[in-house]
Symmetry: C2
Subunit: 409 residues, 2 copies
Amino acid sequence: MSAKDGGVEEEQQQEQEQVQEEQVVNPWEVSAKQGGKIDYDKLIDQFGCQRLDKSIVDRVHRLTSRPPHIFLRRGVFFAHRDLNEILDAYERGEKFYLYTGRGASSEALHVGHLVPFMFTKYLQDAFKVPLVIQLTDDEKCMWKNLSVEESKRLARENAKDIIACGFDISKTFIFSDFNYVGGTFYENMVRINKCVTYNKAVGIFGFTGEDHIGKISFPAVQAAPSFPSSFPHLFSGKHNLRCLIPCAIDQDPYFRMTRDVAPRIGFHKPALIESSFFPALQGETGKMSASDPNSAIYVTDSSKDIKNKINKYAFSGGQDSIENQRKYGANLEVDIPIKYLGFFLEDDAELDYIRKEYGAGRMLTGEVKMRLIELLTELVERHRRARAAVTDEMVDAFMAVRPLPNMFA
Amino acid sequence: MSAKDGGVEEEQQQEQEQVQEEQVVNPWEVSAKQGGKIDYDKLIDQFGCQRLDKSIVDRVHRLTSRPPHIFLRRGVFFAHRDLNEILDAYERGEKFYLYTGRGASSEALHVGHLVPFMFTKYLQDAFKVPLVIQLTDDEKCMWKNLSVEESKRLARENAKDIIACGFDISKTFIFSDFNYVGGTFYENMVRINKCVTYNKAVGIFGFTGEDHIGKISFPAVQAAPSFPSSFPHLFSGKHNLRCLIPCAIDQDPYFRMTRDVAPRIGFHKPALIESSFFPALQGETGKMSASDPNSAIYVTDSSKDIKNKINKYAFSGGQDSIENQRKYGANLEVDIPIKYLGFFLEDDAELDYIRKEYGAGRMLTGEVKMRLIELLTELVERHRRARAAVTDEMVDAFMAVRPLPNMFA
């Protein structure tokens, strides 16, 4: 090999190969080890969070006097930080607030995007607590190189999808960073930023010197809603209110930083309840990608789109011929229709039945896909009807900076 | 030398010595080469700004039909960027706006702090243009490790001193970052941040990995007021309005960054008019230091304080005995009373007379100091009376987010 061919380029290639040997999970990249799936057990160890085990699910059941959400029962939300402390406080009669969010980078959400919002609505209803939803239009403006105006427009469009998930307007404040950053929210950003060195931020987020300083400024924006004083119109005088954040586990780095900072500036550490990723149609190697329309079912897809995508792209664990399927059965571990049914088919008995029959070869891929198509079409149609009913006035109402008089009732 | 004695510490010492061999001028440090004075010619070359020569002073005289301010005549404001473009536009009948600011790190201002405000008031009166004054309470909270509350309190206290300089409330908006950051101001911060890599920021500001990320987030806050859309209540629809920034030259790095970014986000580059530093009583090796009360005359000093400080600490270029002074005369180049008179003694003929007599040994240090004591006592008394008349309601009025209906009249 000549010097001309090697050197820097070769080193870069080696680095890339090294990266692919380990899974990468951070707010901007989710990729499994080459050819593999995300190893969630390893992620729990790596991040230092806790597994959400059956005893906590049972405790939630007991405390809320309602059956735990399907995403809890099925382990979609599988990890947490200090959830027991939130439940301890709740048991003592203390309330808390929920904080979740979304970076609005595309017009249409896919069904995976609905997962945290469906779950957050359940938490709001079950615990009867207020909720703040952050639309990080500033983040998308910076990472996706969208204009400020386009980012703000997308945030409003996404707000309609979020509202369509059924949140209680008397307990919910939705805000976009471009419309809300300022006041005590900005004060908290400064307090947070004072506690994090650049080196520390690099350790958490992997920034490089070629990243723009907007990226380095952003973590404080996502951290600030974890502290009640960022919302004086909601939590004035409630400095000690605890915060619970439902989110996908790729957001954990933001809140590791937040939790590290919190006691140093006089706040509770926010608690977290964290989900796995909704897999792409092509297989469970990462999150669905908004940039590949065939990797996901969108809430704007027609029933025909859904049927075509599931039949054509949903990775099957079934055998390559009817004979072999009857003989060997399907590999449920890699089968995407089975995964998707696990997210959305509420009836445990039916899901068990399908798993058993399909795994034993008595059911064919086409039949399982047909059930999934039916289920997703229903879900998407229901969402579309709900979204069509969301008016601009409702968006304004949810996003109005206002008190929520009976938010704990 | 053993390994134990040398190594890292020795290297650090060598680095420090190297630093002292060059002058350092940035927003947080002003220090001359060891034992020397700030070399302003070198600074102009190093920063790439332009010398403010007599032709520009004459042009300002002609355009404003009033004698140029003493700080212009005497070269206190000695450098600029694109001032001619502002004057070209002004001559064509276009207006502009002024932007200056202050980081409120201490209760009391010293007389050097008044320099940019006295000059800015002159510019406002002479050109009849609006003015925005930024109080960077967030900066001081982050750099001086003050609490948010204390920083905000100091900003309000300093606002009173600034208002006492006589600004026209119908043309002046004073804001503190903690009270104002948000809305289009925050949008502009994001636009700016997107254009500056961390490496670039390190090149301009000298950040290290151990600096907290608040420092890295701050330059955009100081840059944003350079763009009219950061003040929608003032400049709505005036996207093309030019901005002129009077400031001390240590602030140049912020505006080099701003000027680099401006055309990329669709704004004019702000123009600058930059002053030298007001020297410490002990000699002209840097700025006055708020941390050493004997290095400066404060606007809160009594006439007795002023007399004592000038007599005791003001570095004299006079000879060590009356006989020698009569024989050799004073070294005006290093004489602080002469420097201070150059800032504040408006009468050119009197200043010339003092310089000539003192330099020739016909005047003694004590006589020159007596004249300076008289002048500064007058200045400080006048300021104190004006400040005492500034009520909390006036501060609220100057800081109210409001339109300025006749700001160009």
